[in-house]
Symmetry: C2
Subunit: 434 residues, 2 copies
Amino acid sequence: MRLSAYFLPTLKETPTEAKISSHRLMLRAGMIRQSSAGIYSWLPLGLKVLNKIGEIVREEQDAIGCHEMLMPTIQPADLWRDSGRYDDYGPEMLRIRDRHDRDMLYGPTNEEQITEIFAGSVKSYRDVPQMLYHIQWKFRDEVRPRFGVMRGREFLMKDAYSFDMDFDGARNSYNKMFVAYLKTYERLGLKAIPMAADPGPIGGDMSHEFMILADTGESEIACHKGFVDNDWLETAGDDLQTTVDTFTEKYAATDEKRDTDAEAALGDDLVTARAIEVGHIFYFGKKYSEKLGAIVTDSDGNNITVEMGSYGIGVSRLVGAIIEASHDEAGIIWPDSVAPFRVGLINLKVSDDECVTACDDLYARLTTAGIDTLYDDRDTRAGAKFADMDLIGLPWQLAIGPRGIKNGVIEVKNRKTGERQELSVDDAMNLLGV
Amino acid sequence: MRLSAYFLPTLKETPTEAKISSHRLMLRAGMIRQSSAGIYSWLPLGLKVLNKIGEIVREEQDAIGCHEMLMPTIQPADLWRDSGRYDDYGPEMLRIRDRHDRDMLYGPTNEEQITEIFAGSVKSYRDVPQMLYHIQWKFRDEVRPRFGVMRGREFLMKDAYSFDMDFDGARNSYNKMFVAYLKTYERLGLKAIPMAADPGPIGGDMSHEFMILADTGESEIACHKGFVDNDWLETAGDDLQTTVDTFTEKYAATDEKRDTDAEAALGDDLVTARAIEVGHIFYFGKKYSEKLGAIVTDSDGNNITVEMGSYGIGVSRLVGAIIEASHDEAGIIWPDSVAPFRVGLINLKVSDDECVTACDDLYARLTTAGIDTLYDDRDTRAGAKFADMDLIGLPWQLAIGPRGIKNGVIEVKNRKTGERQELSVDDAMNLLGV
């Protein structure tokens, strides 16, 4: 992509309304613009990252046999009256009345909707177990939206739901999701720690929040330091329950689940830190299937009310969370897997024909090799170009100027390490793995 | 995908609430379920088609240098007060009041939002022209939602907007979109006819609706029969204006633009038919840029209010429109480009081990070859499997049964032509181009 034709309105000044790094950097890097409090437009660079995160989430859901669908944003109030939640849900629910004076709402979550769909479609044990998910915009009318996309009002979430014949089946679905979540966050370049969370009215041990450590996190967590130092996923083995046990046998608890005795016993192995929630999985049994009639017949012809679980990942929140976990003074440092472009190519002197030709040639070569490249061909001074590249945080910067051309080299910078090298074009391509 | 594990709740009975073929077939094929009037959940099969259509639309927008972004669904009323449309827009606009009693609305369109973003970001002629689009859910509170996804309340649209320094630039942007639309519909397997449409308050000839002929269409159009018989896109040449001229010099008009004299003059060359609108492009000049201050400086330092155009495609409506244009008594007939799977593989006798092995082997071979295959491995009778395959309309059906295995052949059916052949597995793979 040629930057001269792209829509990348970076800001030099730091927006005063932004209180945390990710919010400031997303505004400055031209990723988002506020529409109203807690509601954002995603500009091209931001949308690319959002889509890359969504795609990784999607692939790991598909990999465990969870099927993608899409529920609407606007739901009928009657469905929530049937579940008993319409009156329980507080002012965070955006309530709407349509032109025929029917009560509607902007979905803050989808248990009711998915249970209704399942109940209307599945009648036999033959079609169970089933896992369904969607990635859709939700709305929660936060009283004080803040921290940019981290606590917005309109936000993108992946919601998945599982349906099983019995508790053992539900546990198996839960375990599949548990491991899929670990893989998802690992691919996103995040160390997300599964922590025992409030199980809600159902009780039991099948409720985990996935937390990433960040100073700006809204909750204070405590965990065994092994979670911070180790990567148990690689050593956990193939068995699902063993993997889950590996991650759950050691202490890790969110705010509301912290245990003073357990923490005292850990001694030097205890870590306390601030953290951001980036996912929540929980089993809720027959809470909605009973109320909404999600009943199937088993192989003996008996009616069975299905067991359900709910599995959420905050996709738009993850954009902010990744930046909180990976940035420096100069800007964002994207993990390779979600970087909006892999390479930033800088023409240091657009008035120099030789320089233009060298840049155009390299751009063509990168593009042909399938490397998504943002090519800064603007008529701007070199300093501003380097600053913008650092700000938007692409993994590699390649810069070409008259001096380098004379010496047969280009400058290659790794955004994460800061390391700079002067390399021939061929060696630079090798470094990029092509 | 193994059908035994998929979520494909097909219906045997025809839903009585559905008045047109596409609505009936989408419900019966397990593509959608109604949530409330004019609002649908997209089940896995339906979502696959919706995404394939969206991807084709996206590629053709990207190809003309239009940049994808994403605006939110909920907009502040104040923005619409600034443009003067908040009071003008009728009861189709879904108006919302948030917990702080601020007036909001579910966006029925995005001229205001995009103009605000542009005005806040672009200040110089150097960053013009610019084209931006998004694919997002919109809401119009239709008084009588009907025809399934063809006239729903919550629907998916691609909206693009162009920004230019002057009228000539705006015409060039319009022409680019005009041709991109022709290519888009062609790739979707549709013959979409660009027709002169109501230009609105701006006047002029830069307003076209793209219509596809279908008996269930809501408007009565008239056009030169060349539009129905010919494919001018291939012969139109490389020059943008020439291509647009080729398509606009012959008579073609929607309801409100029909011209009795012009039609009389056409004689036998006149075709009148019912048609479905699947896209609308129009130039609207400075209507919003003036009111919302989208002003840039030109190279002489003068303030220029930018010229704008708007370009919509109904993505979710297209799912219904394609079915209206391509189905028979037995079900849907998907064009290759948007088929949810390319091949349906049917095991005619799941109790036969040899048959299972042959099907599993072919499924593995198809999958390895990159052919997206729906594998009906259910324990159901063959007749029901053939009926479901015809209903969901995959381009190719491959059926394997004990008799065929004995003879070393499988049955291959082309859904569109109905042609059946008995072929060896190798010949069948050849037929599929692998």
